[in-house]
């Protein structure tokens, strides 16, 4: 197998002393398209971050007169119900007698709230859900996989049994079952609701793949020289796993993370349709679900806006994830 030739530039001679990461990032930089995608992803995250910060500030300084950025005020009526996009209009707000003029970029919903603002806000909801779900699944999958692969024996047996069991149940059934029982459940004295139950359900059910992957990698690497050396130096098992082995499989985790992220964004849509999603705040899934019936009265903009929002981030993440995979680990194949 001589894979390097195909994916990297043939004329490039490998330079000594370059680490996997710097090498990978160098290759990644060369892919202009992937970098564009990375920028798109970063924009989404920056947006979500800005909304988050804005909310925190409003919480803290709301009484002192901080009103927040108007673009993030998704709950404010800015026009009549179901105003068509890209048009000037005149309307009378509910509390006042005066009519006002306005213009929307992406139309309004039934309460006259801006679809554009709601779509922006949806970035925060959906990205939070996807991020938390990814982190939960990594936090469960990676240590379990590492421990199983490193210790083998009965620990391995138990962990493998556990994840085989979970893997045996069809994912969609498992996800829905978790979402149903977690919804409005009380766990350790905290009531779980809205987005929390969504990402908990997704995180708790989706760690099997990464666990299996990490376990395999650790088994492959645990007899390598640097591990043997570390052991000879008297390192504890925990130190070997977390200081020596895991950093060496970190790129696998990153790649897995980027590709999985997309899956979670799409899963949120489906859960919303099933009535198991976030309900209080706008989310893309919620918007698509709402638009299902509104489409009949010709309200196409809500669904379009949310679909486009999802489309760009998944496109960007997919392409970037692929590029990342090719650059960091040409041998790795993910499903």
């Amino acid at each position: 197998m001589n894979n390097q030739e195909v994916t990297t530039d043939m004329t490039q001679k490998p330079v000594k002393g370059r680490s996997l990461w710097s090498d990978g990032i160098r290759r990644l930089r060369k892919r202009k398209f992937a970098m564009v995608c990375l920028v798109i992803v970063l924009i989404y995250f920056a947006l979500a971050g800005a909304i988050y910060i804005d909310e925190v500030l409003q919480d803290k300084f709301g009484e002192k007169g901080y009103e927040g950025i108007s673009l993030f005020q998704w709950n404010e009526s800015i026009g009549p119900s179901y105003q068509k996009p890209w048009l000037d209009y005149e309307w009378t707000p509910e509390d006042s007698e005066m009519s006002q003029e306005g213009w929307t970029f992406f139309g309004t919903d039934f309460l006259g709230r801006s679809t554009w603002r709601r779509t922006l806000y949806g970035a925060k909801t959906s990205l939070t859900v996807a991020l938390c779900a990814s982190i939960i699944s990594l936090l469960i999958g990676v240590p379990l996989g590492a421990i199983a692969g490193y210790f083998r024996g009965w620990v391995d047996d138990v962990i493998v049994w556990f994840y085989t069991t979970l893997g045996t149940i069809p994912y969609i059934l498992l996800l829905m079952a978790f979402a149903v029982v977690l919804k409005d459940a009380t766990l350790f004295g905290h009531e779980i609701k809205g987005a929390t139950s969504v990402y908990l359900a997704m995180g708790l059910t989706s760690w099997v793949g990464i666990c299996r992957l990490i376990r395999g990698e650790i088994i492959k690497r645990k007899e390598s020289e640097y591990v043997l050396a570390a052991r000879a130096l008297g390192c504890s098992n925990g130190r070997i796993i977390f200081k020596h082995l895991l950093p060496n499989v970190f790129h696998i985790i990153i790649i897995n993370f980027s590709l999985r992220f997309v899956g979670f964004i799409h899963a949120e849509v489906i859960l919303s349709f099933l009535g198991l999603g976030e309900t209080d705040r706008p989310s893309w899934g919620g918007m698509i679900d709402a638009a299902r019936t509104e489409l009949a009265r010709g309200v196409w903009w809500e669904m379009t806006a949310a679909t486009v929002a999802i489309f760009f981030i998944s496109l960007a993440l997919n392409i970037f994830g692929d590029a990342l995979r090719d650059c960091l680990d040409p041998k790795l194949r993910t499903d």
Binding site: T165, F273, I288, L315
Partner: protein
């Protein structure tokens, strides 16, 4: 080989047990008691208690004895039953009791649980061994029993669950099998083409199109497809129509399913094909002067069959489950539809049965896939 299969079959036991444990935790421990929901809008407490008993929500979770409905307990009015007991058990005359006497006897026995005395004397001197009448039973036990006997009982509307599941299998398969085969054929053909023209503009375009297809939410495909192709253009039925053959109603959902799933499929098979095409044997074959079609079909496809067959066999059990969203939108009465219904009405009995049956299917097909793997690839040895 036989030993291998037997070993694998034995290994299924802990897995199945694990599945039972997971479903129990999900649907009984966390999902819990749905008697109030079954009782309806203007229920009275008595009926609720009765339902709890009927469905076994009042049983102990893991170990214990079948309890009584609270309201069933009454001070004994029947002169035949005395609330007294004797200390040494003697004689083994058994008597036939009606249900009411039985209840009283058991309740008395429970009261004397701590003293360890379970025998009672009746007024006519006979002895009643209440101990033997306590049913050893718990929610987990009945959960377990249901699964191993495949007797899942009745759902909350008292319909037989097994019947319900069986009815759903057909429509689900009618939807998923053509969908699966269609997307399999298209993905494999496309991936072969892509593998053949790799690196060219065509390859790039197809890959980008695949990613684009993958990036649109599934729900948007369905909503748009139903509105545009079924309603506006009137090419397909809008909704499952019992008066026409099933085939007519499933065409549009099948097409939507194929298009929505194409991106993932092509990318998956492309990776496999690329892996093969880069192998030494392909280079050798080309060097021998074989034509491209020959290399592709005789060598590449044949070798790629190994991962393809494994993947196909592993996907088969999932076909039974149908497609949740498509079935719901187009009203196809399959298992996916049933699942949504069960979720919406919190019918954990149905969900439980479904999860277990599906898990069982998947376990079996995983075994089949492994055997197939050995069958198509002689290098694999069964150890």
């Amino acid at each position: 080989m036989t030993a291998y299969i037997i070993r694998r079959l034995l290994y299924m036991i802990p897995i199945v047990f694990g599945v039972l444990l997971v479903t129990f935790c999900l649907f009984t421990l966390v999902g819990g008691d749905i008697s109030v929901q079954i009782a309806g809008k203007n229920a009275d407490a008595e009926t609720i208690a009765e339902i709890r008993h009927e469905y076994g929500f009042d049983k102990p979770l893991f170990v214990g004895y079948e309890p009584l409905v609270d309201d069933q307990w009454k001070e004994p009015t029947d002169p035949n039953v005395l609330a007294s007991y004797i200390e040494s058990p003697d004689g083994d005359d058994t008597i036939i009791l009606n249900d009411y006497q039985r209840i009283v006897a058991i309740e008395n026995a429970k009261r004397q649980w701590l003293g360890g005395l379970f025998k009672q004397r009746l007024s006519d001197g006979r002895i009643l061994d209440a101990w033997s009448m306590l049913d050893f039973n718990s929610q987990f036990l009945s959960h377990f029993k249901k699964a191993v006997t495949f007797n899942f009982g009745r759902d909350r509307e008292r319909q037989k669950i097994s019947e319900k599941l069986l009815q759903g299998v057909g429509p689900s398969l009618a939807l998923t099998v053509p969908m699966f085969i269609g997307s399999l054929i298209i993905s494999i053909s496309l991936s072969l083409i892509v593998a053949f023209i790799r690196g060219s503009v065509g390859d790039f375009v197809i890959v980008v199109v695949c990613v684009i297809l993958m990036s649109i939410p599934y729900l948007s495909y369905i909503i748009f497809g139903q509105l545009f192709f079924a309603y506006e253009l009137d090419w397909f039925p809008i909704y499952y129509d019992p008066s026409r053959p099933m085939a007519v109603s499933v065409v549009l959902p099948i097409l939507i399913g194929i298009i929505a799933g194409l991106g993932v499929g092509v990318r998956f098979y492309r990776t496999i094909m690329l892996d093969e095409i880069r192998s030494d044997y392909v280079r050798t074959a080309f060097a021998k002067g074989l034509t491209t079609p020959k290399v592709l079909f005789k060598h590449v496809l044949k070798n790629a069959m190994i991962p393809i067959v494994t993947n196909v066999v592993l996907s088969l059990p999932r076909l039974v489950l149908g497609s949740l969203l498509l079935e719901r939108f187009f009203g196809i009465p399959g298992l996916g539809y049933l699942m949504i219904e069960a979720i919406n009405s919190r019918d954990f009995f149905v969900l439980n049965a479904m999860t277990f049956m599906m898990a069982l299917l998947i376990v079996i097909f995983t075994l089949v896939a492994d055997i197939c793997y050995g069958w198509v690839d002689p290098r694999v040895k069964f150890e």
